[in-house]
Amino acid sequence: MKTLSGTDLSVQIGALRLKNPLIAASGCFGYGVEYAEAVDLSTLGGVAVKGLFLKEREGHPPERIVETPSGMLNAIGLQGIGVHRFIREKLPELRQLRATVIVNICGSTLDEYVELARILSDAEGVAALELNISCPNIKEGGITFGCSLHGTFDVVSAVKKVTPLPVIPKLTPNVTDVASFARASEEAGADAVSLVNTFLAMAIDVETRRPKLSNIVGGLSGPAIRPIAVRMVYECRRAVKIPVIGMGGIASARDMLEFIIAGATAVQVGTANFVDPFIWGKLLAGVTDYVRRHNIARISDLVGTIDTTSREKQWISS
């Protein structure tokens, strides 16, 4: 899809063509409909809705968030309406808003992921499935799969068997070698991987000596984590051929470009949307301006174009 300037911002994620590489990150955008007043959802590459289990979940008691330097620590605990209410109450509105809906699914067992994938494959208006195997805030399931190469392989291949939809495991950064998890995902048939979920972290009130979150620990997001996330996207890009969807503290077009150059085919934006729900148009305008200035015909031509050689050459030639 070309914009008026002649710039092609579209990107390919498996069989799915996104009109641009900008996706609202799961857990940071409600079910999408909450933000319809701030942004035309059809202008986004995709909308990753809040993680869904089969059943409704209450989540953790407050306090659920605390601000940290350039970051936000959260332990929401995946409060959610469950897949059936989502399909009944939210999906029709998302269809009407012409959103490209990526449903983030969470399970306590492998069977739950499979069941969710089956149900959502039959629903009208779901573009892709993101497998949440990386939430640091709940004890059961999820992260157990995401922290084991076998677990990652098993859940991705089991879901792939039951759905025609693109499958995107969302990886945790709380492992030694995230690239090996991208590889396990690729071997299991994943159409893409997305990373990073939040970094396990904590904050303590020294006056009361109490943890600032009711869950004691939580997941860190925001600009504070960006350089680590960029590094991990870079590592995964070198390890796999499937597209990498990058995220972690993106708050400007430059941040978005940094991820793309590191190897992200598309990006997700989360925490920055809390600060500025009107950020989406600004990000797309900034990226369009960049590709125009650099005479890049297609944004996909920019993916993974990090130049790690030139400095070395200069050194040798001098």
Binding site: E58, G59, I65, S70, M72, I76, Q79, P223, N273, F274
Partner: protein, 272 residues
């Protein structure tokens, strides 16, 4: 309609060592705001503070029948409120709103009793004006630690709003929590009364109990730690009882206070 306005500081009035009223040139937001709604304020540059903070709209500023902006009543407790306290005319403060579910207005002959604790006075200037415009007889119960922290008393009395005051040190009004005179007057009231409250949560809980004891309805405005103000993050949840009259009975469950509130019926909330 939701807007994000880079609002110029029109003036900043420091009421005490901690409290200030800051006037912001955000007429688009001010015009659309209903009593009880709030704005999300971003005062810092760059990443500190990163997130916005919620503030009730205190006053809608009008000059020559034109809306020129809004004010926020702030108490200095953290980074954002310190920036708001120190701001000077000409600074800009980013203001997102209006947000949240407003108060439901009542009609005469029902009386409105507003109960404010400390900085919880914030939503009652706009609510008071709206109630008076409805012809509703309005009273403000207003409590603070000390008399020096009771503000805008003339503003309310000059409009014909009756004041009942209480301070913890007894310097003005009852030497008591504000729920003591509220309880006493409810004992004696015989007409219809609806109670509106904003303040610390223990006060809101006490107000809800006092109201229920006297078989009156209450609408309370809560403040929870909020990340986005738009229903995106699920941080600011509060427990509510199953919806009255709904066919499905659900146990108490968390709702987002930013979009389901900040105003709730007192009897619907489950206090932790």
């Amino acid at each position: 309609m939701l807007r994000d306005v880079e609002a110029r500081v029109i003036r900043n009035t420091r009421l005490s060592r901690d409290y200030n009223v800051i006037a912001l040139a955000a007429p688009e937001i001010a015009e659309a705001t209903q009593p009880g709604q709030f704005v999300m304020v971003k005062s810092g540059r760059g990443g500190d503070p990163l997130l916005r903070r919620p503030f009730s709209v205190f006053e809608v500023l009008r000059s020559n029948n034109r809306v020129e902006g809004l004010t926020l009543l702030s108490k200095r407790v953290g980074v954002t409120t310190k920036i708001l306290y120190d701001a000077v005319e000409g600074d800009t403060i980013s203001c997102l709103g209006p947000l949240g579910r407003p108060f439901d207005l009542v009609d005469p002959p029902t009386e409105a009793w507003m109960v404010a604790g400390g900085v919880g006075l914030a939503p009652f200037a706009t609510l008071g004006d709206a109630l008076l415009a409805h012809g509703v007889k309005t009273t403000l119960f207003y409590g603070a630690r000390t008399g020096g922290e009771l503000f805008y008393l003339d503003w309310f009395t000059s409009r014909g709003i009756r004041l009942v005051l209480a301070t913890e040190d007894g310097s003005i009004g009852d030497k008591a929590r504000i729920t003591i005179p509220l309880d006493r007057e409810l004992q004696e009231a015989d007409g219809e009364v609806v109670i509106y409250a904003c303040g610390p949560e223990p006060m809101l809980e006490a107000v809800a109990h006092v109201a229920a004891k006297h078989k009156r309805t209450s609408q309370v405005s809560v403040e929870r730690t909020m990340g986005c103000g738009m229903g995106g993050c699920y941080s600011c949840v509060i427990q509510v009882r199953s919806e009255a009259g709904s066919e499905r009975t659900r146990p108490a469950h968390y709702v987002r206070s930013c979009i389901a509130g900040p105003v709730f019926k007192g009897e619907d909330l489950v206090w932790d």
